[in-house]
Amino acid sequence: MNVGFIGLGVMGRPMALHLQRAGHTLFVWSRRPASAEGIPATLCASPAELGRRCEVVFTVVTACADVENICLGEAGLIEGLAPGTVVVDCSTIAPETARRIAARLGEKQIDMLDAPVSGGAQGAIDATLAIMAGGKAEVLARVQPLLECLGKRIVHVGPSGAGQVAKACNQMIMVAAIQASAEAMRLAAAAGVDCGKVRQALAGGSAASRVLDVMGGRMVSRDFSAGIEARLHHKDFGLLLDAARRCGSLTPVAAVVGQQLNALMAQGWGRDDTSSLLRVLESA
């Protein structure tokens, strides 16, 4: 199949390579053409040109505005894609933005899935991402073989936007767990106890979690180099707190975590791993 891929960053690059290795013909576009180096693909001049040559297009970029520009902007996908083609957006953006873009593409009979992922860079490299999809079930069925090149657990959450809602829930739980791990490590250290031993002991009990394992490990070894850049979690918290606000739902822990992330950004650790939330506590 002719597959387009836009966004060749830490996540996008290994994902694109999996699709290519599975035998698909890859077309890419990048704002900085240099980021496409080393990928066996045809480099296109614009998203529109890429769209003219592809049946399915993946996007994995950072901000709502990026997805919007790539899909709907000047020389955007909407100008190139034929009716019946599919855009699969794996970025993390606001549910509302995802719904709006899907509706605009829908006017031209272009289908869209919001399909954000969880699992980080390692999950992308190992093709073990969790993929949470929003959109029509039959559209998901059509691209299912492609998604299976990228991840293990693929769940159809609901209609357009539902994938992004699930991703917001994922981020709430995960970053709150990072904050809880940081507080536990901080408490252990402040009480004069070896936090490495504490982490080791807890790994056998009911507080055990992947976050305590991975992020807790980085806190113990004080390795704050990314991982997942904390600025991306900060961005996600802006989106999810806004989504909670729009529903009028009470999310007190997420609100506090959001403030700790603001403090992290202020200290200049946005490009470090989110385990830097420990350093925010230490700066108090």
Binding site: L250, T251, N262
Partner: protein, 288 residues
């Protein structure tokens, strides 16, 4: 002075009336024509649109709902502005939005002041609003005569956006303050102690405040009629939280308070006064 006034809602109407009482010539416009009638009856001139208002004015004041509304009316004002026009927005919007509108107007040669107010409908009617202004010294001096008809405590805080920053700070203090008073009242009640006595005792000490005095009394009276509607406070706290997010600023108490106001709107208390946060606390602790 020839003053234009755009937006004649709960706040705008009495503010414009006070400009008329102050002896100014006032030209008004509102999106809903019927809201112009009370002003026309009191001697104001009506205009068909903000551009026409600008053509007749030396100072144009807007009092509308949200940043996009301000941007829209100010664009129309720019189209009709005479040289030297000072545009004043007294709505509550984000500081960043105010600065951007200021820049756009400056490019068209128009001085802009952000001058949000505090004091509510009561203060607007009595002409005793607090007015916190951001913009150039010369523009503030020109608008001052208008401000003096509407408010008492008039402070030129700083450059463009500084008025909105001050208003956001005001909303932090009133939002966190009303939640603190509600928590103290709920705490007293759950302990079986009479809230009115607690309030009376505390009013003599360091925790005395206007919020404990006024809002605390209305909580005791269980008078939840607005006043200041909680959905509006929620909107203002959202400006605070968005700005903190953009700046990288840790505001834990504001964040907790904003959550309570979110939940008020979500659970049907949005149209009640912000003191209805007491009802939410009672529900959360099973006291309702």
């Amino acid at each position: 002075m020839n003053i234009g006034f755009l937006g004649l809602g709960i706040m705008g109407r009495p503010m414009a009336l006070n400009l008329l009482k102050g002896g100014h010539t006032v030209t008004v416009w509102a999106r809903r024509a019927e809201s112009m009638q009370p002003l026309l009856d009191a001697g104001a001139r009506g205009a068909a649109n903000p551009t026409e208002v600008a053509q007749a004015s030396e100072v144009v004041i807007s009092m509308v709902a949200d940043a996009p509304d301000v941007a829209e009316v100010m664009r129309a004002v720019a189209a009709g502005a005479k040289p030297g026009l000072v545009a004043v927005d007294m709505s509550t919007i984000a500081p960043a939005a105010a600065r951007q509108i200021g820049e756009e107007l400056a490019a068209a040669g128009i001085d802009f002041i952000d001058a949000p107010v505090s004091g509510g409908e009561v203060g607007a009617i009595a002409g005793t609003l607090s007015i916190m202004a951001g913009g150039s010294e010369s523009a503030f001096a020109k608008a001052r005569a208008a401000f003096e008809c509407m408010g008492k405590n008039i402070v030129h805080v700083g450059e463009s956006g500084a008025g909105q920053v001050t208003k956001a700070a005001n909303q932090i203090l009133t939002g966190v303050g009303v939640l603190a008073v509600a928590e103290a009242m709920a705490f007293a009640a759950k302990n079986g102690v009479e809230g009115s006595k607690v309030r009376e005792a505390l009013m003599g000490g360091f925790a005395a405040s206007r919020i404990l005095e006024n809002h605390g009394q209305r909580m005791l009276d269980r008078n939840f009629k607005p006043g200041f509607k909680s959905w509006m406070h929620e909107k203002d706290l959202n400006i605070v939280m968005q700005t903190a997010h953009q700046l990288g600023l840790c505001l834990p108490a504001s964040a907790a308070t904003a959550q309570m106001f979110n939940a008020m709107v979500g659970s049907g208390l949005g149209e009640e006064d912000s003191i209805a946060v007491l009802k939410l606390l009672e529900r959360l602790s099973g006291q309702a």
